[in-house]
C-alpha cells in the first residue's frame, strides 16, 4: 500500500511538472502585459517533440544519445524521494536528502558531458558554466538542508518534514535563514533569472540552453521535462519543508486529497512570487553569480550557526 502510494505520488509529480511550468509562464505573461498561452501548452510542446524525428549531430557518440534517458530517470528518482502530498513514504527511506542531491549531481554530470560531446564551442561553454555554478550552489544547498536535518536529527526527508509538522508553529531563526538560502539556490539551480534566462539563446548569457543546443525530438522532450521537474522539485522542497501544513499524514483518500490541494496552492503561490521576481529583476553578469551564491552560502551558514547557538537543546 505504502509503495503503491509512493509510486502514484511520483507519477503525479512527473505529470504535474509541465503544469507548473505553464502556470509560471502564464503568470509572467500576465505581469508583462502579454497574451498568455494556454496552461497546457507545455504538455502540447512535449507531445509534439516526442512525435518528431530526432536529428543527431554526426560527431555525437552513444553518450549523447543515452544522456537524456539518464538525466530524466535521475531526476525522477530525485522526485520520488520528496514527499509531495504525503509523508512517511518508503521511497524516502531508500534515499535520503544527501542522495537526492547526489541524483541532481548525476543528472548534471551527464548533461555537462553531453554538452561537450558534440565538440562545439557552445556546448563547452554551457558545460563549463553549469559546472562552475553548480559547484558553488551545492555547498549552499547542503548547508541549508543540514540546518533542517540537524533540527530534526534525521536526513530522511519524510522524517524531517514530519518533525517540523509535529513541532507546531515555532519561529526558528535558523529556518528563516535556511529558507532564504534555499530560495537563492533554487533560482540558480533551476536556471531562472537572474542567474540564467531559460527563454534566451544569446551566447553571452546562455548556460543551460547552450548545453542542449544540439538536442531535438524526443531527446529534447526528455531534457525539457527533466528541467521542469527540477523546478517543481525545488518548489516542493521549499513549500513542504518550511510550510508543511496540509500534507497528508495518514493514507486516507480525504487526507491525500487535501494534501494535493494544499501542495497545488502552495506551488501556485510560489510561482506567482517567482514570476514577480523574474519580472522585476534583470539578469546579472556571469561573474556576479559567485557573489550571489556566496551570499546564499552565508545565509545557510548563519542558519546553521543560529541553530547551534540558539536552538540546540543543550
Amino acid at each position: 500500500m505504502n509503495w503503491l502510494i509512493a509510486i502514484l505520488q511520483t507519477l503525479l509529480f512527473v505529470a504535474l511538472a509541465p503544469l507548473l511550468a505553464g502556470w509560471l509562464k502564464w503568470c509572467k505573461c500576465y505581469l508583462q502585459n502579454r497574451k498568455a498561452p494556454s496552461l497546457f501548452q507545455p504538455y502540447r510542446d512535449l507531445l509534439k517533440l516526442t512525435h518528431k524525428q530526432p536529428v543527431v549531430a554526426e560527431q555525437a557518440s552513444w553518450l549523447f544519445v543515452t544522456a537524456p534517458y539518464i538525466i530524466f530517470s535521475a531526476t525522477i528518482l530525485a522526485a520520488s524521494v520528496i514527499p509531495l502530498i504525503a509523508v512517511d513514504l518508503p521511497t524516502s527511506a531508500s534515499a535520503d536528502v544527501i542522495v537526492m542531491v547526489g541524483f541532481f549531481a548525476f543528472a548534471r554530470f551527464f548533461l555537462a558531458l553531453a554538452g561537450l560531446d558534440i565538440g562545439t564551442a557552445f556546448g563547452g561553454m554551457g558545460s563549463s558554466r553549469e559546472m562552475t555554478i553548480s559547484s558553488l550552489a551545492e555547498p549552499a544547498m547542503l548547508m541549508a538542508v543540514f540546518t533542517l536535518t540537524m533540527t530534526a536529527s534525521t536526513t530522511n526527508l519524510s522524517g524531517a518534514i514530519a518533525h517540523v509538522l509535529n513541532s507546531g508553529l515555532v519561529l526558528r531563526p535558523s529556518f528563516v535563514f535556511a529558507l532564504f538560502a534555499l530560495i537563492l539556490v533554487a533560482v540558480a539551480e533551476t536556471g531562472r533569472v537572474p542567474v540564467d534566462n531559460p527563454s534566451t539563446h544569446l551566447e553571452l548569457t546562455m548556460i543551460h540552453e547552450a548545453m542542449i543546443l544540439e538536442y531535438s525530438g524526443r531527446h529534447l522532450a526528455l531534457i525539457e521535462w527533466a528541467s521542469q521537474l527540477k523546478l517543481m522539485i525545488y518548489g516542493v522542497l521549499i513549500a513542504n519543508i518550511f510550510f508543511p501544513w496540509g500534507i497528508a499524514e495518514t493514507f486516507t483518500a480525504q487526507a491525500l486529497g487535501y494534501g494535493l490541494l494544499a501542495i497545488m496552492g502552495k506551488l501556485g503561490l510560489l510561482a506567482i512570487f517567482l514570476s514577480i521576481a523574474e519580472t522585476l529583476v534583470a539578469k546579472m553578469r556571469l561573474f556576479r553569480v559567485q557573489e550571489y551564491l556566496g551570499f546564499a552560502y552565508l545565509l545557510g551558514l548563519l542558519g546553521m550557526l543560529s541553530h547551534i547557538i540558539l536552538e540546540a537543546s543543550r
Binding site: W62, S94, G124, S128, S134, M143, A312
Partner: protein
C-alpha cells in the same frame, strides 16, 4: 595458515623481483637447462625442445615478463586471501622472525587493521599484474631495462606488505625504507630526462625527511617505555605534551608520504614521471600505507587520542581536500591532475579521521567507529578508482603517446572499452550515487551531522563548516572530472595522435581496469560487504562498532539508526532501471521516428574545426576567476602584428602558467635558509692544513676533557 599466506604474499613479490633479474641471463640459463636435462632425463629430446622454445632469443623476454607478473599477481591473490581471512575470523596473529638486531628479532603481528590494508594492496597488485605485461611490452630493453623495473616493483610491493606486518619500530622502519627507496628507483626509471631525475630526487628527499620524523616519533614513544616492540610502546604512558609532540612528528612523517597539504609537493612531480602501473600502485596503494602508519600510531600505539589532534587533522584535511581539487582543476597533464586529486582524496580521509578522533576523545565510541568506517571505506574506494584512473591514463598514453588533455579528444569512438572503464572511474571519483565513492562520502556527511552530541560550541560550529567544504570539494571534483572525461574522450580529436588512436589490443591491459571498475560498481551497490569487514577492524582497534544494522539486512545501509538515515543502493538501481526502461521503451516505440544523423550546427558559417572546442584552460576559466587567489596565475597574451601602423593581427599567442603557492611561500625560503646555513658552515673549511690540524687538536682536547 593465515600468516603463511601473508608470508607467501611477501615472498612471492620478492621472488618476482628476483626473477626479473634473470632478464639478461638467458645464455646462462640455456646452458644450465641443457646440462640439467642431460643429467636427469635420458629421453632428453622433446623436453629439450620444450625448454628451448621458451629460452630462445625471441620468446624469452615475453615469457619472463609474463612469469614475473604472474608471480606478482599470485602475491596479490595471497594478500587478498590473507587479508580477508584475518578480517573474517577477527584474529590477531603474532610471530617472530629471527632476523634483525641480536636483541630485537623482527616481531610480526597480523591483525584486522593490517588485514584490511593487505586487502587494499592485494587488489591493487592483482589489477596491476594483469595490466603490466601488455604495458611494459613496448618499452625498449636498451633504454628501460625490464630487470630494473621488475626488481624494484617486487621490492616495492614486498616493502609495503612488510610495513603492515611489522610489530616493532625497528622492523617497521626497515620495511618503510625498503618501500621508499624501491619506489624512488621506480620514479627515476625513465631517467633520461632531467625533469624526471629532479622529481625523483625531490621524492627521495621528502621521503627521507618524513622517515626521519617518524623515527623521532617512535623515539619519543620509546623513551617512555622499555623497548622498541609495539607492545612495549602501547604500554607506555605519556604526558599530554609528549604525546602531542609524538603525534605531530608522526603526522609530519606519515603526512608527507600521504601527501597532505602543504607537504604534498612531491606527489604531482613524482606520479606523472613514473610508468603508469607504478603510479597506480603509488597513488592507489602506497598512500594508503602511510595512512595505515598514521592510524596505527595514533589509535593503537598512542592509545588515548585528544580532541585537539582531531581538530588538527580536520583542518589539515579540509585544506588538502579543497586545495588538492582546486589545483587538480588547473592541470593539463592528466597524470599530474590525478596526483593532485589524490591529495584531495587523502584530505577527505584525514577529515573524517579527525572527526573520528574528536568523537573518540569526547566519549562517543560508536560515532568514532562511524567516522573510522567512513575514513577506511574512502581509503578503500580511493584505492580502487584511483588505480583504475591511472591505469586508464596509462592506456591513453600507450595508444596516443600523449598525456596533455588539450591534445586529446574524441577517443570515445576510437577506444570504446577504455572510455567506458574510464567513465566508471570518473563517476566513482565524482561521488555519484550507485558508485562506491558516493557511499563513503555519504557516510562522511552522516558523521559530520552527528555533531549535536558534542558539548564544545566551537567544535559544533566548526564541523558543519567542514562538511560544507566537503560538499564544495565533491562538487568541484565532479566539475574536474567532467573536464577530464569530456576533453579526453568526447568532442573531436585535437591532435593527429589522438585522431589515429585505436583500442588497445592486449586483453590484460583491459582486464586490470575492468576488475577495478567492476569492484567500484559492485561495492557501490552492495556497500555492506566492505562495511562488515571494516566493522571488524574498528571493534578490534577502537573497541566499538556501529550499532547493529543487521536487522535491516544487506539491502539497506543505516549507519546510525534506521530512523536517522538510510540508503539503499539496490532499490535505487532498480528504480533507475525501471524509470529509464519505461521512457526508453515508450519513446522508441514508433519506427518512423528513428534518429537521423546530420551535420553539426555551425551557425551557418561552415567549417567547424577541433580548435574551436573548449580547451582545458577555457573550461576552468570561470573557476580560475572566482578562486583567483588560490593560485599564482601568470597569464599573458601576445599579438603578432604586421602591416601599416601594425593594424593587422596575424596571430595571437596565449600563455598560462599556474603555480602552487607552497613553493614560493614554504619551500623556497627553506631552500634559501639551508643554502645560507651551509655557506656559514662552509666558512670553517678554509682549505688550509694547519687550520684542520688545529680543529683536530681542539676536538681531541675537548674529548679528553669530557671523558676525564
Amino acid at each position: 595458515m593465515i600468516l603463511v599466506s601473508a608470508y607467501c604474499a611477501v615472498l612471492l613479490s620478492f621472488a618476482s623481483g628476483l626473477l626479473a633479474l634473470l632478464m639478461n641471463q638467458q645464455h646462462i640459463l640455456l646452458t644450465l637447462s641443457q646440462y640439467a636435462v642431460k643429467k636427469c632425463f635420458n629421453d632428453a629430446g622433446h623436453r629439450q625442445d620444450w625448454l628451448n622454445k621458451y629460452l630462445e632469443e625471441r620468446h624469452y623476454p615475453a615469457f619472463l615478463r609474463l612469469a614475473v607478473f604472474i608471480l606478482l599477481g599470485l602475491s596479490g591473490v595471497f594478500a587478498v586471501l590473507a587479508g580477508l581471512a584475518v578480517l573474517i575470523t577477527q584474529s590477531v596473529i603474532t610471530d617472530q622472525i629471527a632476523l634483525g638486531l641480536p636483541w630485537l628479532p623482527w616481531h610480526v603481528r597480523f591483525d584486522c587493521l593490517s588485514g584490511f590494508f593487505y586487502l587494499i594492496i592485494g587488489i591493487g597488485v592483482c589489477a596491476v599484474s594483469l595490466y603490466g605485461p601488455g604495458y611494459v611490452h613496448s618499452n625498449k630493453e636498451k633504454d628501460h631495462p625490464f630487470a630494473v623495473l621488475g626488481l624494484f616493483t617486487g621490492l616495492f610491493v614486498s616493502g609495503m606488505l612488510l610495513v603492515l606486518l611489522a610489530d616493532d619500530a625497528f622492523f617497521f622502519m626497515i620495511a618503510w625504507e625498503l618501500m621508499s627507496v624501491a619506489s624512488y628507483f621506480l620514479v627515476a626509471f625513465q631517467h633520461e630526462k632531467s625533469a624526471n631525475r629532479r622529481a625523483a630526487f625531490l621524492y627521495l628527499l621528502m621521503a627521507e625527511v618524513g622517515a626521519l620524523s617518524i623515527i623521532l616519533g617512535f623515539g619519543v614513544l620509546a623513551s617512555f617505555s622499555d623497548g622498541f616492540t609495539f607492545d612495549a610502546l602501547r604500554a607506555s604512558s605519556l604526558s599530554t605534551t609528549w604525546a602531542s609532540i609524538a603525534f605531530v612528528l608522526a603526522l609530519l612523517g606519515f603526512g608527507m608520504k600521504a601527501g597532505i597539504v602543504p607537504v604534498h609537493v612531491w606527489l604531482p612531480e613524482a606520479h606523472p614521471v613514473a610508468p603508469s602501473h607504478i603510479s597506480a600502485l603509488m597513488s592507489g596503494v602506497m598512500l594508503k600505507v602511510a595512512l595505515y602508519g598514521l592510524i596505527r600510531f595514533c589509535f593503537d600505539l598512542l592509545g588515548d587520542v585528544h580532541w585537539q589532534w582531531g581538530v588538527v587533522l580536520l583542518i589539515l584535511g579540509t585544506l588538502s581536500a579543497l586545495g588538492g581539487i582546486l589545483y587538480a582543476m588547473m592541470q593539463t597533464n592528466l597524470k599530474r591532475l590525478l596526483a593532485y586529486s589524490s591529495v584531495e582524496n587523502i584530505g577527505i580521509i584525514f577529515m573524517v579521521l579527525g572527526l573520528s578522533m574528536i568523537f573518540m576523545a569526547n566519549g562517543h565510541p560508536q560515532l568514532a567507529a562511524l567516522g573510522f568506517l567512513a575514513a577506511l571505506f574512502h581509503a578503500f574506494n580511493h584505492a580502487l578508482f584511483k588505480n583504475l584512473l591511472f591505469l586508464g591514463a596509462g592506456i591513453i598514453h600507450h595508444q596516443t603517446h600523449e598525456l596533455n588533455i588539450d591534445m586529446l579528444g574524441g577517443l570515445i569512438k576510437r577506444m570504446p572499452k577504455t572510455s567506458l572503464l574510464f567513465l566508471v572511474g570518473c563517476m566513482s571519483i565524482s561521488s555519484l550515487p550507485l558508485f562506491n565513492g558516493f557511499v563513503s562520502e555519504w557516510l562522511a556527511f552522516q558523521t559530520a551531522l552527528q555533531v549535536d552530541v558534542l558539548d564544545n560550541g566551537v567544535l559544533r560550529s566548526l564541523i558543519p563548516v567542514s562538511a560544507a567544504a566537503l560538499a564544495l570539494t565533491a562538487a568541484l571534483a565532479a566539475a574536474c572530472f567532467v573536464k577530464v572525461f569530456g576533453l579526453i574522450f568526447l568532442g573531436q580529436a585535437r591532435s593527429r595522435n589522438s585522431g589515429k588512436a585505436h583500442e588497445v589490443h592486449d586483453k590484460g591491459m583491459l582486464a586490470g581496469p575492468a576488475l577495478l571498475a567492476g569492484l567500484c560498481f559492485f561495492i557501490g551497490i552492495f556497500p555492506g560487504v566492505i562495511i562488515h569487514l571494516i566493522n571488524n577492524v574498528s571493534s578490534q582497534l577502537l573497541g566499538a562498532t556501529l550499532p547493529d544494522d543487521s536487522t535491516l539486512g544487506w539491502l539497506w545501509l543505516a549507519p546510525v539508526s534506521a530512523h536517522q538515515a538510510s540508503y539503499s543502493a539496490p532499490l535505487v538501481l532498480i528504480g533507475a532501471l525501471i524509470a529509464a526502461g519505461i521512457c526508453y521503451g515508450y519513446l522508441r516505440r514508433n519506427p518512423l521516428t528513428v534518429m537521423r544523423r546530420a551535420e553539426t550546427w555551425d551557425c551557418g558559417f561552415g567549417g567547424l574545426t577541433p580548435r574551436m572546442q573548449y580547451s582545458s584552460s577555457a573550461f576552468t576559466m570561470p573557476l580560475r576567476r572566482i578562486f583567483a587567489s588560490v593560485w599564482i596565475i601568470d597569464e599573458q597574451i601576445y599579438k603578432d602584428t604586421q602591416g601599416a601602423m601594425n593594424q593587422d593581427v596575424t596571430a595571437v599567442h596565449y600563455q598560462l602558467h599556474i603555480e602552487d603557492h607552497s613553493w614560493p611561500r614554504l619551500y623556497r625560503p627553506i631552500a634559501c635558509g639551508v643554502n645560507s646555513l651551509s655557506k656559514q658552515v662552509g666558512r670553517i673549511q678554509t682549505g688550509n692544513i694547519r687550520t684542520y690540524l688545529g680543529y683536530s687538536f681542539a676536538t681531541l682536547l675537548l674529548l679528553l676533557w669530557v671523558i676525564s
